[in-house]
């Protein structure tokens, strides 16, 4: 059993604090993704779990015990690095078997385990090559093979796909997910790519500036972002965020246009409150071109500035109160720029955030 627990973990470089007290419980065999913009402290957090970075304050536990003072080799974890860090002077076979050799396993065990890992990752043909003779995707695979060979308590991944081209990245993403289903193990995975986070995670940890903003399943984080940061970071295209004021039962935009306050949020707001109205493009759809019926819908008439057909849907750029807002047209037809359309707004999926704090009015 290897659950990982972070308890008020702080990282300081000299006087500068870059990770500000992180609390996180990761369950046995859970796939947790740390996601956030570059520089928010994801790698630092992961490296503290790995033991590659000193923990300035707080505790990290892997399994039953606190590991703060254990070197990486005693934590029984493996790690896949962004640049793979394969040993260039060793063949693929030696790369895979290196950890077992260091652990003084006998030859037969090493061969068996290397072959097993090679089998899982389809590396059988490549075992005698050196890393220089592999493509990017193959190196990636070897790096993962090196991680699974030792049967560790947990896998740590630091942006393992960011050096691959777009197509290979999608392919490897799927492979990582399959791998986790095959080799059930606790995984902590770091990425700045919210799509990777959504597709891979059992639970997503959204980070910003060394803080955790929200922890939840992909659907929780997508459907119930706790603040404007999470709302804009998760989901693509991002959620439209429009400043407005509550006037009675209306959300009034800066240009005087208004929408009714979403029914489910009616008792969460007060008259005169400055808010941010949040609406995903999927919920701003021309009448007759939505995805799901909304029990609580409203309408706005808007000019389309630009349209981007994607096949099954078309992204429509319009503006609400002078700010750009994106909508989607499912089952699309041709749209000419400047065309005026009537839009359905799925108010039961709309969000309201307090303008001062940025927090969702639901979570206040």
């Amino acid at each position: 059993m290897a659950e990982i627990t972070l308890n008020n973990v702080i990282k300081r470089y000299g006087k500068v604090e870059v990770v500000h007290g992180i609390d996180l419980d990761i369950a046995h065999n859970e796939f947790v993704v740390l996601v956030g913009p570059s520089g928010c402290g994801k790698s630092t957090t992961l490296r503290m779990i790995a033991g590659l970075e000193d923990i300035s304050d707080g505790t990290v536990s892997i399994g039953p015990g606190v590991v703060n003072d254990l070197p990486p080799r005693k934590r029984n974890i493996s790690m896949v690095f962004q640049n793979y860090a394969l040993y260039p002077h060793m063949s693929v076979r030696e790369n895979l078997g290196f950890g077992l050799k260091i652990a003084k396993q006998d030859e037969a065990t090493i061969t068996a385990r290397v072959n097993e890992a090679a089998d899982i990752l389809g590396l059988d043909e490549l075992l005698e090559r050196t890393p220089a003779e592999l493509s990017g995707g193959q190196r990636q695979r070897v790096a993962m093979g090196r991680a699974i060979v030792r049967h560790p308590e947990a896998f740590l991944f630091d942006e393992p796909l960011s050096n691959l081209d777009a197509k290979l990245r999608v392919q490897m993403r799927t492979e990582i997910k399959k791998l986790h289903q095959k080799v059930k193990t606790t995984v902590v995975y770091v990425t700045h790519d919210q799509v990777e986070a959504m597709t891979l995670a059992d639970r997503i940890v959204v980070m910003k500036d060394g803080h955790i903003e929200q922890v939840g399943t992909p659907m929780e984080v997508f459907n119930h972002p706790v603040n404007t940061f999470v709302a804009s970071f998760i989901g693509s295209p991002p959620m439209n965020l429009l400043p407005a004021t509550i006037r009675g039962t209306e959300v009034v935009f800066t240009d005087g246009k208004s929408l009714p306050v979403p029914t489910r949020l009616a008792d969460r707001v007060r008259d005169g409150q400055e808010v941010i109205f949040g609406l995903r493009p999927d919920d701003l759809t021309p009448v007759g071109h939505g995805i799901a019926e909304s029990g609580d819908s409203a309408r706005l008439t808007l000019d389309v500035v630009l349209s981007e057909p994607l096949g099954t849907e078309t992204i429509l750029y319009t503006s609400i109160a002078g700010l750009e807002a994106q909508g989607k047209m499912f089952g699309p037809r041709d749209v000419t720029p400047g065309e005026t359309l009537e839009f359905d707004i799925a108010m039961d999926r709309a969000h309201l955030f307090d303008a001062a704090t940025g927090n969702s009015v639901r979570s206040d």
Partner: protein
């Protein structure tokens, strides 16, 4: 089209000719020394110059080693041993310090790091000969004149800045994730260094070693000041034994120069195959 092709060809030929001239300038003096080692002294100053020895012989070498009719009483074996001991020991020490220092500069953050590095480099801007008087005075106080240890210390000091600088560069090229991956894989820091980083920096360490060895092996100015007898005199200093008050045995000197060159050549050839740079290629990215 035709014009461009022609210009390219002329360019290629010019490059070739220039390289050839440069190589001639570099090689001819060395070639002259080697040829002279096989000719009688009388032929050296002949006018017009004789290029290819008319009666090539090993007489000069025989003389040096005390065979044949006229002997020169120069203790070459002793000088040779001194040179070897001093050059090898100082190189080994300079490499050890260079590896530790280079690794520290490449991997760790510490106070005054840049200042220290700059200081090391600046120390190389002082011509060695300018140091010879102070070193002589100190060495004579503590009894290191005419001692191998005295020269070894001087050569270590001379070589360390360069070995640190060179080895630092090589360690810098090795992503620190390699050592980290090894540590996650079960290595101690020490094991990670010897099993991963050292093999990858080997070519750099070998280059630094050759450089340090050749510097010590060929150094003349300081050695001529700090040595007196067969206890410590090195081969380059021994060359001066061929100068008498009124005559210089150029041919004998050349033979000795050849003897000095040979071990350096052998070492360079032995180490050369380790100088395959770019070993880190392929370990990272795609």
């Amino acid at each position: 089209m035709m014009n461009g092709k022609l210009r390219k060809q002329i360019g290629a030929i010019a490059t070739w000719v220039l390289t050839f001239i440069l190589m001639v300038i570099i090689c001819v003096p060395g070639l002259w020394v080697v040829l002279t080692a096989f000719r009688p002294n009388g032929e050296v100053l002949a006018k017009p110059p004789v290029w290819i020895p008319e009666n090539p012989s090993l007489n000069n070498f025989a003389k040096i080693f005390g065979f044949g009719a006229d002997q020169v009483a120069i203790p070459v074996p002793a000088y040779f041993a001194n040179s070897l001991i001093i050059a090898l020991t100082s190189t080994a020490i300079a490499l050890l310090i260079g590896m530790s220092g280079g690794y520290a500069f490449a991997r760790y953050r510490f106070r005054f790091k840049n200042g220290l590095f700059l200081g090391l480099m600046l120390s190389r801007t002082v011509p060695g000969i300018a140091l010879s008087l102070p070193i002589f005075m100190i060495w004579s106080r503590i009894g290191l004149i005419d001692a191998k240890l005295g020269l070894i210390i001087v050569y270590v000091a001379l070589n360390v800045p360069f070995t640190i600088w060179l080895i630092d560069g090589f360690f810098r090229q090795i992503p620190k994730e390699m050592s980290e991956a090894a540590q996650v894989d079960g290595c101690t820091r020490w094991q990670a260094f010897w099993k991963i980083e050292f093999p990858l920096a080997k070519s750099g360490i070998a280059s630094a070693g050759i450089f340090a060895f050749l510097t010590s092996w060929n150094e003349y100015a300081l050695a001529s000041n700090l040595t007196r007898s067969t206890d410590s005199k090195t081969l380059p200093v021994g060359l001066m034994d061929f100068t008498a008050q009124f005559t210089i045995d150029w041919a004998g000197m050349s033979a000795m120069a050849v003897i000095i060159i040979i071990p350096a050549l052998i070492l360079t050839f032995l180490v050369q195959k380790h100088l395959i740079a770019g070993l880190t290629f392929g370990g990272v990215k795609g």
